[in-house]
Amino acid sequence: MSILGSLDLNDIFIVPFLKEPTLSTGIAAGAGGIVVLGALAVALWLTVKGWWKPLWSEWLTSLDHKKIGVMYIVLAAIMLIRGVLEAVVMRAQQVSPAPGFLSVEHHAELFSTHGTIMIFFVAMPFLTGVINVVMPLQIGARDMEFPFMNAISLWLSVGGAALVMASLVVGHFETGGWTAYPPYTGIKLSPNEGVDYWIWSLALTSVGTTLSGINFAVTIYKQRAPGMDLMKMPIFAWTTLCTAILMIFAMMPLTVASLMLALDRHAGFHFFTASNGGNMMNFANMFWLFGHPEVYILILPAFGVFSHVIPTFSGKKLYGYTSLVWATIAIAVLSFTVWVHHFFTMGQTAHLNAIFGIATMTIGVPTGVKVFNWLLTMWRGKLRFSTAMLFSAGFMFTFVIGGITGVMLANPTIDFATHNSLFLVAHFHNMLIPGLLFGMFAAVNYWFPLAFGFRLDEKWGRRSFWLWMIGFYLAFMPLYAIGLMGAPRRMAFFTDPAYFPWLVVAMIGALCVLAGLTSQVIQIWVSVKNRESLMVPAGDPWDGRGLEWSLGCPVPEYDFTTVPNITSREPWVDTKAAGKHVMDPTEFVDIHLPKPTGLPILVAGVATVGAFALIFEMWLIAAVCFVAMWVLVLIRSYDTDWEETITAEELREGYEAHKRLVETTPKVSLDDEFTSKNRGLILEEAV
């Protein structure tokens, strides 16, 4: 075998099109072309602008939690664009006359990459990014506990995403859906590299996520500001803690199951084969041991976001803090007890299904508690419908519908009729679009000033909300209907004319969502252009309640000039109630921050090349990369000069400067919240 393993000319994206030009191969070649040209265009742009060096020294090598968080979100945004475009292509395929313009194989690749990307390379980096930016600021920490490991996590996720992007250019992705059940994904039925792309991109990102989980949990456990005991911690930190625990324990089953699948495929093992005593049902079992907690990894951070956005824009304290905390803990623990509901129809006894059906319905209870908490927070509040608040309100309304269809599906007898139908597809999009994406969009709109110092444009933000909201209903309500009529999921085309009108509505909905996404791109562009008028240097642009709003925007690299002493759940509200706009400093001391280092990106880069080598069976290159990766880690272990000091004097100057800024910034009332008068320090009362 050559050193290039199974790689050959036919794997290059343009070749199949040249050999057999059809619309389907043309679209594939076009997608590959977009990736290649896009990468070249970005490279050219960076070169022309001379931005390579600042990009490397200020971003790619940074260990600052805020920058790492922003890079996670950028990754999620890029992948979201691809995921939404794929959805639009699939919707278009189903409204065109059967058999449509895509080959069946190509359509299968599309729904597989769409699912894989949306879960692992949009949802996960998005929430990890928001946690990275916000959580340390909320608990009074200066960084994550393990910043180097944090960067490793980031770049491993980027590596995984890069592999999925590479599958557009070199070879194919798998066709077995994002769950990739064997025996279909075994070597006999899926002999090409597609499944290996899935396995190794997930392996990279799941290791990254496990490490992130450890980082978040230890940070919250050890780095809280003095006086902030667990029951004084902000809700977002609580949901992060529960998410972190789920990450620590739930990623392992995925890692184990996917590596077992790799051994089956390439070493002739019999974990999940249909012969020689393999048990393919254990793959579904292990996948969902991961997959169900994963659902709550995705949703809990968004719950945390809403628990801050809603009180802020209702002008009220969060209703029922304690019940929200316990509901979060209950959801986290219960999420480990319901995984069988993803395969009620696999053949186990009704007795076992009934137990898991009941456990599943039980999870609805703490979730319902939360919805009531948010509703009662809004009750009699003075509501201000900013973009973030609109997304939160839209979430509550929509998520409850998804929750109700979830309780329907939790009943095994109903599940037998609806499993693998578009009803299920509508259900989980109904959970994850409001329960994850709306939460993250709210978070970006709400916390954006912390990272960049200016607010986002409200007009385009609200447009994007309405387009997403309406687009969601148009795209997924029809799927509930034809799902109940019997339309199965993952079909390349339908021939039943009764489905057609519904699919046309869904197509319009998909275009609406695409318009919503476009509005968000425009929103960012407009905001960057008008950043001078959107600047909020004094911080706290929304009459916020959490510790993070006590800081100037953008937050300086050291976060806090002094770590505050915490005596209540809302220390910033207390400070403002006492008529102050700067928290009293405690003690100025020298602090140490990690120096930037290129090692994390190198380690992950080598790991990614190694994973690519494994996908195309280049065993020698893979082995070299594996050794090189550990050598790089070893080099780091010899490095003892990796901190830089910020002196107490610099911190004192930072504090004084911020204080002067706050004193000279004119205070504005809530009525001017969304105007250019808002330079920070919004006040509830008219001035």
Binding site: G277, N279, N282, L289
Partner: protein, 120 residues
């Protein structure tokens, strides 16, 4: 609390006390391991009774080693580790026992007796 440094020396009572814990842990582990081997290999008990006994011996040894070597006990400073281990075992029971339960249940419905599906 420090995990890595003590201001006492190796001739201190504290050191000898700590050492005693390792010696006890080791001695008990040896006894339990050998007891397991004797019971499994000796044929004194019936297979299912012997199966249960070696299982219990293993759990006992597991707890002893967590206590003796990994310093998980009821003291205040070991409390985070204790909670962590207990939570982990809750998850392990859910995942591992759950897996065995689900797969055995599936097998019972698919005519998979011991020896696999070859008999079907």
């Amino acid at each position: 609390m420090s995990h890595i440094n003590s201001d006492k020396g190796m001739d201190s009572g504290e050191y000898k006390h700590a050492m005693a814990r390792y010696v006890w842990g080791f001695a008990l582990s040896v006894v339990l391991t050998l007891a397991g081997v004797v019971i499994a290999g000796g044929g004194v008990f019936g297979a299912s009774l012997a199966w249960s006994i070696v299982g219990i011996l293993a759990i006992a040894q597991l707890i002893i080693q967590f206590w003796a070597f990994m310093h998980v006990d009821l003291s205040q400073e070991a409390r985070p580790d204790l909670y962590l281990v207990m939570f982990t075992f809750l998850i392990i029971i859910l995942m591992a026992a759950g897996t065995v339960w689900v797969l055995a249940d599936l097998a019972s419905r698919m005519g998979m007796g011991p020896g696999g599906m070859t008999g079907m």
